[in-house]
């Protein structure tokens, strides 16, 4: 069933080419083709999820095609529990974003939808790549379409925002490129051959001397922390969000930021475990500072999009805190929080888009009392706000709770202070989100421009409904989602604890073997296994 994952990656690319071939006058066809192919991608992603066996450790649905032999670069893709959730999130948000562009995007539609589909392929590629070269290719490829989406279809100050977005993220990722190459060269000198194969690098990683791990850790972490964005590297985010079109904001907040947190889990924790122990408390503190700072700044905003952008800084702080607690609870919380933030912030941006479409302003002061004019919309916005604020019973609660629990119980951080300060963020979130809701929905209808606003259209309800369903699903019954990533999280934490403390309490299920072992298969299996790595100081 490996083709399912390949299909999830290939369908949006095919869509990109298809849209390029449609004449630009046929806007309707361009839109429908884009929507159809993004839905097809979602079907493929759901197929991947159904075929994914959460009881099996390691990567599944792996495809490995040789690409550049000289550097052992391959088209290596696969999913584990950690990446699968994000693949699903990406595939789900893209059709919604395309629907959200249906009305607002009124010029150069052909380029727009082509860029959206290219963006989807690149984002999916980031999550499924099992090869550092391939990962980097997709990582950078994400920049190009997003740059154009902000720069062409954005607001008044779009050129500045697009450039800032591009240069900020490029600064980080180019240093990561040096580190990626450096790792390959190290493998050549110490582990028998240049490689970009993630599996081989992962085996080699714990043998890296600590002083090398330190700078490699930062070369990767800088790139990811800019993307997250972690305080104090977050300044590009409000600009990008304010200027991006609604769908761009949805994707930016929903998926792009998760590339950073995903990278921290996949590359920093996996490849540089010893350095991670050393810097865990620093990054966790930055996460905590981000939680509080983001919340406080969000409280002071008058522009709705800026408010949500800073709330992202705050919410992503929880994720970073969860990741660097390096506990199963914290990591699981971080993963589910990545999905939750994508859903609830995506919905908040959609809601702002609804208001912006009607009034062409995002100033909080321009609105007020809309609950009487747009009652249905008020319900959807309430759900989005409550989900984002982490109300128990809705999705946001699960992730924040687990992240904080992990931080409190972490043997690596060994302090309650992180969770103690971090929990302030939950309270502040309630404060600024309810203020947002209050300012727009309640009170008198003071502005005559708001008297005759249309309530949500059918098209808009279609965008909201899948998100609302997931709010309740994850909030009330998070089991299926948590189980998907459970084994992967456990395996990672067990490895980290083993390396740090020499022992671990986590019991991993043994890989299931077929009841009757056929000698033929066993032989094949043995032949397929790689020779063990030589010790660190073995002669070259």
């Amino acid at each position: 069933m490996e083709w399912l994952l390949v299909a999830a990656l290939a369908v949006p690319l095919v869509g990109f080419l298809a849209v390029l071939l449609i004449p630009r006058e046929q806007v309707g066809m361009i839109r429908w083709v884009s929507l159809l192919l993004s839905l097809l991608t979602l079907v493929a992603a759901v197929g991947v999820w159904l075929h994914f066996d959460p009881q099996q450790p390691g990567f599944q649905l792996v495809t490995n095609v040789r690409w550049i032999e000289a550097l052992d670069v391959g088209f290596r893709i696969g999913v584990d529990g950690i990446s699968l959730l994000l693949v699903g999130l990406t595939a789900l948000l893209m059709p919604i974003a395309i629907l959200a562009s249906w009305e607002p995007i009124q010029h150069r539609q052909k380029e727009y939808y082509a860029m959206m589909l290219l963006l989807e392929a690149a984002m999916l590629g980031v999550f499924v790549a099992l090869d550092t070269f391939l990962f980097y290719v997709f990582w950078e490829l994400v920049l190009i379409p997003m740059y154009f989406i902000i720069g062409i279809w954005g607001g008044g100050n779009r050129v500045y925002a697009a450039l800032k977005f591009f240069l900020y993220t490029l600064v980080g990722s180019l240093l990561m490129l040096v580190a990626i190459v450096w790792l390959g060269v190290y493998a050549e000198q110490h582990a028998g051959g240049f490689t970009a194969d993630f599996e081989r690098l992962r085996q080699m990683a714990p043998t890296l001397p600590l002083e090398l791990q330190r700078w490699l850790f930062w070369a990767f972490a800088l790139s990811f922390c800019i993307k997250v964005p972690l305080f104090p590297l977050h300044t590009w985010l409000p600009d990008a969000h304010v200027e991006a079109p609604t769908a761009g904001s949805v994707i930016l907040a929903g998926v792009l930021l998760k590339m950073g947190t995903y990278g921290l889990v996949r590359y920093n924790l996996e490849l540089f475990p010893q350095a991670s122990f050393e810097y865990a408390s620093l990054l966790a503190w930055l996460g905590v500072v981000g939680i509080v700072y983001g919340a406080l700044v969000a409280f002071a905003q008058r522009d709705m999009k800026k408010l949500i952008a800073y709330s992202s800084v705050s919410h992503l702080g929880f994720i970073v805190l969860g990741i660097f607690s390096m506990t199963v609870e914290g990591l699981q919380g971080a993963l589910i929080q990545m999905v939750n933030h994508g859903l609830s912030t995506g919905m908040l941006f959609l809601c702002v888009g609804v208001l912006y479409e009607r009034r062409h302003t995002r100033e909080l002061a321009e609105f007020g009392g809309l609950v009487r004019i747009m009652p249905v919309f008020a319900v959807f916005l309430a759900l989005a706000v409550l989900s984002s604020a982490g109300l128990p019973g809705l999705n946001g609660f699960v992730g924040e709770f687990l992240s904080l629990l992990g931080a409190a119980r972490s043997p690596f951080l060994a302090s309650f202070a992180y969770a103690g300060v971090g929990v302030l963020g939950v309270i502040l979130a309630a404060a600024y989100l309810l203020k947002f809701y209050h300012a727009t929905m309640f009170g008198e209808v003071s502005n005559p421009h708001n008297y005759h606003l249309r309530d949500v259209s059918r098209l808009e309800v279609v965008q909201f409904l899948p998100l609302v369903v997931l709010f309740f699903w994850i909030g009330l019954y998070p089991g299926p989602f948590l189980r998907t990533s459970e084994l992967a999280s456990k395996a990672l934490v067990a490895k980290l604890e083993q390396l740090r403390f020499g022992t671990t309490n986590i019991v991993l299920p043994q890989p299931q073997t077929a009841p009757a072992v056929q000698p033929q298969k066993l032989l094949e299996e043995l032949l397929r296994q790689r020779p063990p790595l030589p010790p660190e100081n073995a002669p070259r």
Partner: protein, 473 residues
């Protein structure tokens, strides 16, 4: 090998020489022959490429070790012939528009190509010198091809004076290498050096002077001052041609020289080259940022690209050479493409070259703007385009050789370069057009499509070219 076999083995060199001469003779004998010369040149270059493909498998040296045949030389014959055809296709509409389609242009272009091809085949310092001179002299004349325009004449004169100066360095270097080793053929130089150089001091100075001369030709800081004025003053298609083929030809000729001189190269020289490379990358990119004229901006960026190429010389490993040559080929296509777009947008008499003139290009000429975007992204070094893979390979080589700091400097330079390349994209895509831009693409369209295809294919399937390079190194 018999004489005939030897001649056949270097068929591309012979053919390009004959072709250039034939076009010159046609020009002298037939009136109004521009069209004939054009087609003769295109078909002839395709013939050269075919001959190169035919000689590709058997590599060796011929004519008592003066010229190498087949292998790497033949591979670059193909690259140069292709670049020649691309330039011809782009030059025709450009010259027609400027009202200056004389057939000397085609003859000069072919002589320059002959120089490049001789450089690719050089296995002897004298042949190397011959190639570089043939290439340079043709360039001097081509730079001043618009002889009624002061700027073009100024470019030619500047180029000639400084180039002649550089030639002096080069000759001095060759003389000193000969003085210390008593040989000029690469093989015999290498053989002598294996036994230890009798005059290490003289050899060191010789290698240094050679490096200065070569640095001049490929525009390495601090020998780069001529580049912006010359590239800006020369006709745009000529700039496209000399900034690509000129650089690639010297780079490919440099590999066997440095391989032969390897015993004489120590870490000091390596570090010196590394410093030059870093300075070239930083200075080229930083100076490009403040340019508003696109030709001048690309000129500065071409200086920076010389710095990236030098990373291969720093590494001095097989991977370094392969990376450098790969990057050179990628550079030929992406830089050529970018300059051809500039040539098309340009109007008579050097108008419409400013960044502001590109405002809204994507609205009126979406395909042209999209191709420019591909070239610029590739020049920046973004995947999945050819420039990215070339950089990746060069970084690998530099890091492997222990020059991680150089790779870091190179990525810092890349960040700076992203800023000014994006500036062009901002103008093309994010700004509204001021006035309609009329563009006659003509045959230049083929140049652009072929260059785009090359940039994409080299980026997505780098292994084909890389495999060939590694086989022939």
């Amino acid at each position: 090998m018999s004489a005939v076999q030897e001649i056949l083995a270097i068929a591309p060199v012979v053919l390009i020489g004959l072709l250039a001469t034939a076009v010159m003779v046609v020009d002298a004998l037939i009136r109004q022959s521009a069209r004939l010369s054009f087609w003769l040149s295109v078909v002839g270059l395709l013939g050269v490429a075919a001959a190169a493909v035919w000689t590709l498998p058997a590599s060796g040296t011929v004519l008592s070790g003066m010229l190498s045949s087949g292998g790497m030389a033949a591979l670059f014959d193909i690259v140069f012939a292709a670049a020649g055809v691309l330039t011809l296709l782009a030059a025709r509409p450009y010259l027609e528009r400027e009202g200056r389609e004389y057939d000397e242009f085609y003859a000069l272009l072919l002589f320059a190509l002959a120089g490049a091809i001789i450089l690719a085949h050089a296995a002897h310092l004298v042949v190397f010198f011959l190639g570089i001179e043939l290439l340079s002299v043709s360039f001097y004349v081509l730079a001043g091809y618009f002889r009624t325009q002061p700027r073009s004449v100024e470019a030619a004169l500047k180029y000639f004076l400084l180039g002649a100066f550089a030639t002096g360095f080069l000759l001095y270097g060759i003389a000193m290498v000969y003085g210390s080793t008593g040989a000029m053929g690469y093989e015999s130089v290498a053989a002598r050096l294996q036994r230890g150089s009798p005059l290490p001091m003289l050899l060191g100075i010789g290698v240094g002077l050679l490096l200065v001369g070569i640095g001049f030709k490929i525009a390495v800081v601090p020998f780069h001052q001529w580049v912006p004025d010359v590239y800006q003053g020369a006709p745009t298609v000529v700039t496209a041609f000399m900034s690509t083929v000129g650089k690639a030809a010297v780079v490919v000729a440099l590999v066997p020289i440095f391989e032969a001189l390897r015993p004489a190269l120590d870490w000091k020289l390596q570090s010196a080259v590394a410093v030059l490379s870093a300075a070239t990358i930083l200075l080229g990119n930083v100076l490009a940022v403040v340019q508003r004229n696109l030709k001048r901006m690309l000129a500065y960026s071409s200086i920076a690209h010389a710095g990236y190429l030098l990373m291969g010389v720093v590494a001095q490993s097989e991977r370094g050479w392969a990376g450098m040559l790969f990057y050179a080929v990628a550079y030929v296509f992406m830089q050529m493409g970018a300059f051809v777009v500039v040539a098309l947008v340009e109007q008579e008499n050097e108008h419409r070259l400013e960044l502001n003139d590109y405002a809204g290009l994507s609205r009126q000429h979406p395909a042209l703007a999209a191709m420019m975007a591909v070239f610029l992204f590739s020049l920046t070094g973004l995947p999945p385009f050819a420039g990215f893979f070339g950089k990746y390979f060069l970084f690998t080589a530099a890091i492997e050789a222990g020059y991680t700091w150089l790779a870091v400097v190179a990525v810092l330079g890349t960040m700076v370069s992203a800023y000014f390349y994006l500036g062009v994209l901002v103008a093309m895509y994010f700004r509204e057009p001021a006035a309609p831009i009329a563009i006659q693409t003509g045959t230049a369209k083929a140049t652009l499509w072929l260059s785009t295809a090359a940039v994409l294919l080299l980026g997505l399937f780098p292994m084909t070219l890389l495999g060939l390079l590694q086989r022939f190194l």
